[in-house]
């Protein structure tokens, strides 16, 4: 039993960090550091930089074009990106539809789509959520009926992240409304976003961002060859996808990067007790979060090490289930401390973006102006991908038998 990194693992991490340091565009880094989503151009460029190094699909096996890393290396790689901070390889392709295709796709599907995921030729989006089916996917209403060689898809998806940048969507569609159980009769379908009948409508969020969308599908014709696996068993694909790579949900690297940043900020911020960093009350609250981050990090490492030693055995483990809950709570606590550090500055909307300077000196520092939008935006961490309440329901059932 040894939690410490081996010499090789340490060298691997250094290599990754050095590469990021050298290859990451400063504007992209500044934008990430500000808490904003990268622009599409920044994201694509960085993804391709990683692809050129062979690192854009860290979770894929060698056969599929991945680097063939073990769970420890995958974890270290992801954390190094978060720490930079740099964008992750675009996740909808690399972490979601890609692994599904590798596991369930036909050879033709793999040949057609996988290489374009590696280099981000295709931007994917996820069509799972619907207005009446969020955490409760069984009440899915979007239908697909087979007409000759095409599925005709009609329905509405919502909360579709970055659909306005997407070339393709992987969607759950109801292929058999008469199936005995509501999870049966669902297909996992790949839909070209340029197909006639698709309308993408932005959902503006309260922080002023356009990140999610509604996607309306009106008699959209999708070639039958775009169905992944059995048209009645798409639920298997969805479950596979949702159980993939839990350690990433803890976002430990982001938490650490945010804390480092907050410490730098607090050293330059005035408070009623001198510099904010010198206020023991602030320091204690920050240290308490650091302690929780450490507990989360060690828990992550336990999960990763268990994955590494028991590759086949995917029995659920309470440690892995708490990662998402605690990860979201910790990031939200950091956002609150940052908001408090901003004081009245949290009132001002951000004026310029770090990689797009304006002529005016902004009236408050960008970090302060961003503190409220980010606080609001980060509420999503305890909501999406199954609310923390649903996560706790699942844990109570799975591990406590309640």
């Amino acid at each position: 039993m040894d939690l410490r990194l081996s010499e090789e693992e340490r060298r691997f991490r250094e290599e990754v960090c050095a590469f990021i340091d050298a290859a990451l565009d400063p504007a992209t880094r500044a934008r990430m550091e500000s808490g904003r989503l990268p622009t599409k151009e920044q994201w694509v460029a960085w993804h391709r930089t990683l692809a050129a190094r062979g690192w854009s699909v860290p979770d894929w096996p060698k056969e599929a074009g991945g680097p063939g890393w073990d769970p420890v290396r995958r974890y270290l790689f992801r954390e190094a990106l978060q720490a930079a901070p740099a964008p992750q390889p675009q996740q909808f392709g690399t972490q979601m539809v890609g692994p599904v295709l590798i596991a369930f796709g036909t050879e033709a599907q793999k040949r057609r789509f996988l290489p374009r995921i590696v280099t981000l030729e295709d931007w994917w989006c996820q069509g799972f959520s619907e207005p009446e089916a969020g955490s409760d996917l069984a009440s899915l209403r979007t239908t697909a009926r087979l007409e000759g060689e095409h599925w005709i898809v009609t329905g509405q998806k919502t909360w579709t992240t970055l659909a306005h940048w997407a070339d393709w969507m992987f969607a759950l569609v109801r292929t058999d409304p008469s199936a005995a159980k509501p999870q049966e009769g669902i297909g996992f379908l790949l839909i070209d976003m340029r197909s006639p009948g698709i309308t993408v409508r932005p959902i503006l969020t309260i922080d002023g961002e356009h990140e999610v969308n509604e996607v309306f599908l009106d008699e959209v014709r999708v070639p039958a060859e775009n169905m992944v696996g059995d048209p009645r068993r798409g639920w298997d694909c969805a479950k596979f996808l949702l159980s993939h790579e839990r350690a990433g949900q803890a976002r430990v690297g982001i938490a650490k990067e945010r804390i480092r940043r907050l410490k730098r900020i607090a050293a330059e911020t005035r408070s009623p007790r001198g510099r904010l960093i010198d206020d023991p009350s602030f320091r204690d609250r920050l240290a308490a979060i650091e302690v929780e981050v450490k507990a989360l990090e060690i828990t992550c490492l336990r999960v990763v090490a268990a994955e590494a030693t028991r590759a086949g055995d995917r029995a659920p483990d309470p440690a892995s289930s708490l990662l998402k809950i605690r990860g979201s709570e910790i990031l939200q606590a950091i956002a609150t401390l940052t908001l408090e550090a901003a004081g009245e500055g949290a009132l001002a909307a951000p004026e310029a973006e770090p990689d797009r300077p304006s002529n005016e000196v902004p009236s408050v520092p960008d970090w302060a102006a961003m503190s409220a939008p980010l606080w609001m935006n980060w509420r999503k961490f305890s909501i999406y991908g199954g609310t923390n309440e649903i996560q706790r329901n699942i844990m109570a059932k799975a591990f406590l038998g309640l």
């Binding site: 919502t158 309260i206 009623p272 908001l339 901003a342 009245e344 009132l347 408050v364 999503k380």
Partner: protein
């Protein structure tokens, strides 16, 4: 001890609420928010007609002689409708300086027009990098030619983009942070040497950055005693904090009502989500938080009459600390219980959250006031 509202107070509250119900539905509010100024002149006139703008001023000056309790009722109703109009800036802040610091002549010149909705005011006080300590002022006022010259830069001036007059704080003597040496002036927005730039705020409102480049102000525009204006500034800020506390109760009430409605109508796993006990308890905790906030808003209104300045300061710090924390809690819960929809621009709950964060940020957030209170000995004496 007596706790009932008077008949007049009930009437005022009811008519304001009726006006807002008729004219300030969320869709109308969205339309107001999209205008360049971010609010509606028409609604403002309706407030004037109802007497909302005249309320706190003395009757002999064209006001209605309302007390802190009336201001509390108004603020709560405005909060519950997420009202965007510059009531805090004009009536509470600007009006507060007129009531407590202006000469009779100045009041006679401004109050009737303010009450009629014809004049807008704003409070140009905050400076870049300043703490929430009201004495943290660098802007200077220099005596010259029988008047004053103002130099400096103010920011986050709420509704400073449209104000006709600005209440500008400045330092006659002393160093930033010192209570002695402060002054306040009523400066026309058109004054020569005064430049302004519109800012947006994170709760979808407008503010301004104001640059004062040797702006000349005559003696008759002085508010309070030059060099001794700190108690005046502090009093007006305290009245604003009391109003914000009441507004927060209103905003929280709206967020809670929307949440309860959602819990009753939204179905998941075949039943209304309000049937889940965990969500019921969250909704109950929101209710508890709102009742605590309501108590503190009432206490704030009462405490404005407290003659002991240190006692009053502690009380208002306690109020602001509780309001900030409970406001954030209610916002968190409302959004969590709604899920994604609670975070969208098109739905009121997200705007409740944004406003509650703004209320916390204004005039010192919860952390600031808690530290001030704690370092001042707290509320309960050891012996």
């Amino acid at each position: 001890m007596e706790f009932e509202l008077s008949e007049e107070q009930r009437l005022l509250e009811a008519s304001l609420r009726r006006l807002l119900a008729d004219r300030y539905g969320f869709d109308r509010r969205k339309a107001h928010a999209r205008t360049p100024e971010g609010w509606s002149r028409e609604v403002w006139r309706a407030f004037a007609e109802l007497g909302v703008l005249a309320l706190p001023f003395a009757e002999e000056e064209g006001g209605l002689g309302g007390s802190a309790v009336e201001t509390m009722l108004v603020a709560q109703a405005l909060g519950e409708a997420l009202v965007l109009e510059p009531w805090l800036a004009t009536v509470v802040l600007g009006g507060g300086f007129l009531r407590h610091g202006a000469s009779a002549e100045l009041r006679a010149a401004i109050v009737p027009r303010l009450a009629a909705g014809e004049v807008l005011l704003a409070f140009a006080h905050t400076e870049r990098g300043a703490t929430a300590d009201p004495a943290d002022v660098v802007t200077t006022a220099r005596r010259e030619d029988g008047g004053w010259r103002l130099n400096g830069r103010k920011t986050l001036v709420l509704h400073g983009d449209v104000a006709d007059h600005l209440v500008v704080t400045a330092r006659v003597t002393g160093a930033p942070g010192e209570e002695r040496g402060l002054a306040a002036f009523l400066v026309p927005a058109t004054a020569s040497g005064l430049a302004r730039r519109t800012l947006r705020t994170n709760d979808g409102r407008r503010a301004a950055e104001i640059v004062l480049d040797d702006v000349a102000v005559a003696d008759d525009c002085v508010l309070g005693e030059p060099g001794e204006a700190f108690p005046l500034i502090e009093r007006v800020v305290q009245e604003a904090i009391a109003a914000l506390a009441a507004e927060a109760v209103g905003v929280m009430t709206l967020a809670h009502r929307l949440t309860i409605d959602y819990l009753k109508t939204r179905r998941q796993f075949g039943r209304p989500i309000g049937s889940f006990q965990v969500l019921q308890h969250r909704a109950t905790d929101m209710l508890i938080a709102i009742e605590e906030a309501r108590s503190m808003a009432i206490w704030a209104a009462m405490s404005l009459d407290e003659p002991d300045a240190a006692e009053r300061r502690r009380a208002l710090s306690a109020v602001k600390a509780l309001i900030g924390r409970r406001g954030r809690f209610v916002a968190e819960m409302a959004v969590q219980l709604h899920g994604g929809i609670g975070l969208t621009m098109d739905y009121a709950v997200g705007h409740c959250m944004a406003r509650l964060l703004a209320i916390d940020a204004l005039f010192g957030n919860a952390a600031h006031h808690l530290a001030r209170l704690a370092d001042g000995g707290g509320l309960i004496r050891a012996a």
